[in-house]
Symmetry: C2
Subunit: 330 residues, 2 copies
Amino acid sequence: MATIKDIAGKLGISVSAVSKSLNGASDISEELRQLVLDTAVEMGYSTKRSRKETHRRLALFIENMDYASENDFGYDIILGFKQNAFKNNWDVDVIPVTPTFQLQEKYDTYLLKNGYSGAFIVGFALNDEWMKQFNFTTMPTVLFDNFIRNNPNTCYVGTDNYEGIDSAIEHLYELGHEKIAFLNGSLHSMVSEQRQDAFIQGMSRHGLKVNEKLLVYGYYVADSARYHVPTFLENGATAIMCGNDLIASGVIEECKIRGLRIPDDISVVGFDDIPLARALTPKLTTVNQNRIELGKGSYTTLASLISGIAISKTLMRPKLMIRDSTGRHT
Amino acid sequence: MATIKDIAGKLGISVSAVSKSLNGASDISEELRQLVLDTAVEMGYSTKRSRKETHRRLALFIENMDYASENDFGYDIILGFKQNAFKNNWDVDVIPVTPTFQLQEKYDTYLLKNGYSGAFIVGFALNDEWMKQFNFTTMPTVLFDNFIRNNPNTCYVGTDNYEGIDSAIEHLYELGHEKIAFLNGSLHSMVSEQRQDAFIQGMSRHGLKVNEKLLVYGYYVADSARYHVPTFLENGATAIMCGNDLIASGVIEECKIRGLRIPDDISVVGFDDIPLARALTPKLTTVNQNRIELGKGSYTTLASLISGIAISKTLMRPKLMIRDSTGRHT
């Protein structure tokens, strides 16, 4: 673990200049400060500093996810995280980020210069710049719905997609459905891949055949339905599972346009249980992700990482909410 | 959620008799007490009571695992659990159990009558009586290396076997090994099944073929080696991965008897990193399970369950310890 003296030695400057740079003294130029911070991160100084918990500040970086209103998926995740963090005397800054921001700022350096002891990462895409940096970060980092291999400073938190998808298949199976379609969300998302895999496993566990024409990736938007529902119907689907509730709302709309009654003619299941699910007609049967618990569990996990316990995955229980969009296949 | 009044109503006895039974008053017969407790558990009273955290007592049930000495696998798991629990003002009772004990005592009733708010379950086998009861328990229950489907009062804690096995394959692959054998532990264990599956996935991820003659279940004892090492050698294995360190110690012994040098002629990898691993000649390359962290993380997870956060899985990072039993394949 590097000390201030090591950093000074490497850069050929005085110990006090390094110390001033790290502490943001005003008589140090911004260029020198950046150089000292980058070097400190390179030499592993950040971890040592963060583990001291002197600042009691956590960062929550969020991208690609709405969180401003109670109806947004991210709202309760942030709320739960903050609730648990505040109870344990941590301040939390919510920082929206963009791909450009990630190119401009190095992740570890950003945390170090702003005095954060760790971070919670929400909504990042697999091809984000910081996703590469997470492979080598020395800062305690919890990722919502993303997994980093082999770096004990990082942990993945999410809902158990395997159990969630399986409970939906079980419900449809018990209602007599066999030709079950799955309109998944976007490709290049770890969560979509897990749900795809979970669907194949779950169908097999119930002795049901997967028809390749009934299993497709779309996007996490309602519009996805328009392109795929016709094919599902042509191939005899009696139930359609969806990658999230938005997709399900599109599927319901598309089925209605075609004069199909839900659930009498076809059953529809969502994923997430955002407030929209209860507002649809009929009310949507869906797999609930408890977002308050996800937020709270993410804080607990981050606290464990900060205290040196290398948790790699924390999965939360999904809960199937049976409402009015699923019925017996006759 | 049932109240004392509900229990009294169901049994046709007075509220005060129920209350006395639940609190272990001396003027209540043991038979009546047992009946009240069983009824309370049946009606879901236990959960309500446990969530109050009035007793601040946790139970740690252990079976099929040594834990008396520092060299035993269970020692640090219990130590880590206790350390974290005590820090948070919980008392912990370590209770060794047998299959007979599980037939005599109902799990929920046992916790309720002894005033436990939750339990940590270590070393249980899939066919144990209580494993069935865990499907329906209303008590916060964390299981080491066992998973219960669909019951949000339970959580599985363990090391990420997939990452552990994969890191061992990666290490051997980088050393030039392609014919890698896996002598797994016992059948009918969730952990063995995961490691088997992880081995097949990991080989495929590295573009290596799995030879069925090089992949077998044994038992978690050194003696397993005697029966399987000859077949591995006949089929050209240049490296042998093992279900745990004990098996690896047997494999090393068996190879030595046959005049093979380790790692020059054959590489051997263990799993667990118990103290024995460093005492072997040559020192064993193995996948470390950090048992103190497993214990600590299990406490944190149990505390989350007690506070109503339904975590279903907490996985810890494995760490490959590269020592002297693995070498380049020439």
